[in-house]
Amino acid sequence: MEIVFDIRDLSSWFGDHQILKKIRMQIAKNSVTSVMGPSGCGKSTFIRCLNRMHDMTPGFRTEGEILLDGVNVYSERIDPVYLRRRVGMVFQQPNPFPRMSVFENVAVGLRLNGRNMSKADIAEVVERSLTMAALWNEVKDHLSQPGMSLSGGQQQRLCIARALAVAPEVLLMDEPCSALDPMSTAKIEELIEDLSEKYTIAVVTHNMQQAARISDNVAFFLMGELIEMDKSGKIFTNPSDKRTEQYITGRFG
């Protein structure tokens, strides 16, 4: 099993408030890893460390290492811009760019990332990305419509297509279904499974059923600590920590 992310004793703070406490875990290539836990456990903060989305937040700092193919992403030599091209992200609320069409939403990453691509090449990537995001058939006749005009579930798949277009290796998803209805959720979950053949995926979720359905591995976070991480089958049937058991049996959270 090839390791993509090797997280070593990652701690983080907002000002004086410690969010993450010495997280140690590994994310395997071409797998789906779920990060679950009650709200406020630090799971979103954790996943946003993996592509340095906190860089803009004043007062945020980290300790420890996040090794991506052996290089610490927080090292001085890493430009977050290049890191994020390798590690894409999908957010909790679908956030297509307002005032951009469906097509532009997917193409804009290619255009602004300074690759000199011909129009035909861009169109091809857009089609491929939308197809991978299982959206092409629904939008192929409405590519020039505003991205905002799509339904919530379609918007989220558009955001996935947008992330895929810049050809990342890893896809981070921060509660991608929490704003969606059950039908759209099912579609996204199916999509995550398909994508895991080509991409390494990390999903934050507070929904245990979802974690059980989609993941290969599950990490359980509580109060900023990683309680345990294991195969999905094991953690839901035979967790080794008492707190995990309490959580999955609905004792809290």
Binding site: V81, G88, M89, F91, G109
Partner: protein, 279 residues
């Protein structure tokens, strides 16, 4: 305040209601009166030649305000050519990077400048450009108008950029788009309708400005497109015709005012439509 509402209290209530209605009517009334008079009195001299001809001496029929219209267009474009970039970039700085004391100082300065009477901006243009060049000029007028234009546009640019949700910036950054490109091609683009509206409203404002031009560009009876010379402008022509003692010039003042208000209101309405379309 318990018990039933007496007849007297009811009557007072009704009277006050009508008093408020009256206030609203009195507030709106001047608008209708002004537009009515502009239409009636302005229509008298409104001919094609008004828009295409130069002014003529008193007593001679005909003549127009073409040089004034041209001057207004030239001075407005000149002002905006440097004021738009300065103001928009300053607004970007305040919205995207502006924390700390320097940004607060800039914000306070911008607020202060917004409230400075426009005649004082005229003095600014006069001292800075007319005095050293020893000549009234379009440059001086544009310098004065910039001081009116810039603070207004800085404010709207900052406000509009702040309405762009953080999630939009995050989405762009997560794609590996550099921050400056995110700002310029995603954030500014998202707010572009609002920023454009701000620019248009500020433009409408400087098109109608008279006082600062009176002491900087001075006005001119003839065609003049050289920027280092005194230049005509529409509001200045309206002013000098209005205070002249001649009846037929008064008519031209009204016609010029009608043209001026048409320009200003058109821009205002276009600006408002722009922001409405967005939502």
């Amino acid at each position: 305040m318990t018990g039933t509402i007496t007849f007297r209290r009811k009557a007072v209530d009704r009277a006050m209601k009508w008093a408020f209605v009256l206030c609203a009517c009195l507030v709106i009334l001047p608008l209708f009166l002004i537009f009515f008079d502009l239409l009636i009195k302005g229509a008298k001299e409104l001919r094609w030649t008004l828009l295409t001809d130069l002014p003529r001496p008193v007593g001679e029929a005909g003549g127009g305000i073409a040089n004034g219209i041209l001057g207004t267009v030239v001075i407005t474009c000149l002002t905006m050519s440097w004021s738009v970039p300065i103001a928009v970039m300053c607004g970007i700085y305040l919205a995207e990077y502006g924390r700390g004391k320097f940004a607060s100082a800039v914000r306070f300065t911008v607020d202060t400048l917004t409230g400075v009477p426009s005649i004082i901006m005229g003095i600014f243009g006069y001292i800075l450009i007319v005095l050293p060049m020893k000549r009234f000029s379009a440059w001086a007028g544009a310098a004065a108008l910039s001081m009116i234009f810039i603070p207004v546009v800085v404010r709207t640019t900052e406000d509009m950029l702040r309405t762009v949700p953080t999630t939009v910036r995050e989405a762009a950054l997560a794609l590996g788009i550099e921050r400056w490109k995110t700002t310029l091609f995603i954030t500014v683009r998202t707010a572009s309708a609002g920023i454009l509206t701000g620019i248009l409203l500020a433009m409408a404002r400087i098109i109608g400005e008279t006082a600062p031009l009176l002491i900087t560009t001075l006005g001119n009876q003839f065609w003049q497109t050289r920027l280092d010379q005194p230049m005509a402008s529409l509001p200045l022509q309206v002013f000098s015709y209005a205070i002249s003692p001649y009846e037929d010039w008064h008519d031209k003042a009204w016609a010029g005012a009608l043209v001026l208000i048409t320009m200003v209101l058109t821009i205002n309405i276009v600006a408002r439509v722009l922001t409405r379309e967005k939502k």
